[in-house]
Symmetry: C2
Subunit: 147 residues, 2 copies
């Protein structure tokens, strides 16, 4: 399961992208007010997002957060890796957090390994192509089915 940091991060990025589209930054409190994410917790999540390069910020009055790239270049896979950890279900098939399997002598002959690779690829096929822009499009489309 995704942790709350990831889920909140997705929600927050959607909000920021929408604000940016209207030419203004999104402040922590504006996001917290409309999403019910605890203010201080959100602050620390946005800090992580900044360190990871997803957003930029402007301090002071009228400041807030911006996407560092267009919303169609922010992919769920990257976001989840930063906020939640590996996409894979076992470390020995993780592309970004690989750890040698401690319990099998040889990964090449481990039956579990192969299945877990399949699973990783199937997940990645979805997560690495779905962007924040896609999520926004889906929301908008679903709210106005005749558009």
């Amino acid at each position: 399961m995704l942790n709350k940091r990831s889920r909140y991060a997705i929600k927050a990025l959607i909000f920021i992208a929408r604000a940016n589209a209207l030419q203004h930054p999104a402040s922590v409190s504006s996001i917290a007010d409309t999403t019910t994410i605890p203010n201080k917790f959100l602050e620390s999540i946005l800090h992580d997002l900044k360190v990871a390069g997803f957003v930029l910020s402007r301090k002071g009055s009228g400041g807030g957060y911006y996407l560092s790239r267009t919303a169609d270049q922010v992919f769920l896979a990257d976001l989840i890796r930063v906020m939640n950890g590996p996409i894979a279900m076992v470390p020995c098939v993780s592309l970004n957090y690989y750890e040698r399997c401690e319990y099998c002598a040889d990964e090449r002959t481990c039956g579990i390994h192969a299945v877990m690779e399949e699973l990783r690829d199937a997940s990645l096929a979805i997560l690495a192509k779905t962007s924040i822009a896609d999520l926004i499009r889906r929301e908008d489309w679903m709210k106005e089915p005749e558009a």
Copy 2:
């Protein structure tokens, strides 16, 4: 990521299936010895597997654990659900552990929801068809490529 209970459970069930194929039960210590799973921890995992109906046991000298069904009827999806929890990455798309989403007003118009359903189905497509027997076949096949 899968927790250790799940990973150990998979390893243990493979061992038990192999032992059963030779007409004898698998004792906790025989499994622990060949897999490096801590003895007492394994004991508690096997207890869970019994309660969940995956295995049967016989007490006393010469006793141990049996699969309650053939190895090709023990699927990873079922095992993971019992030992690890939901397959889905968010509770609001879980088939077996559903919880209403606390942060979106309407699931039908939530853009995240739809993607998470896709992801769940992609994972399930693999996990619900892969059995312990499949894992054993893969192991055997990979160890003897010319068979």
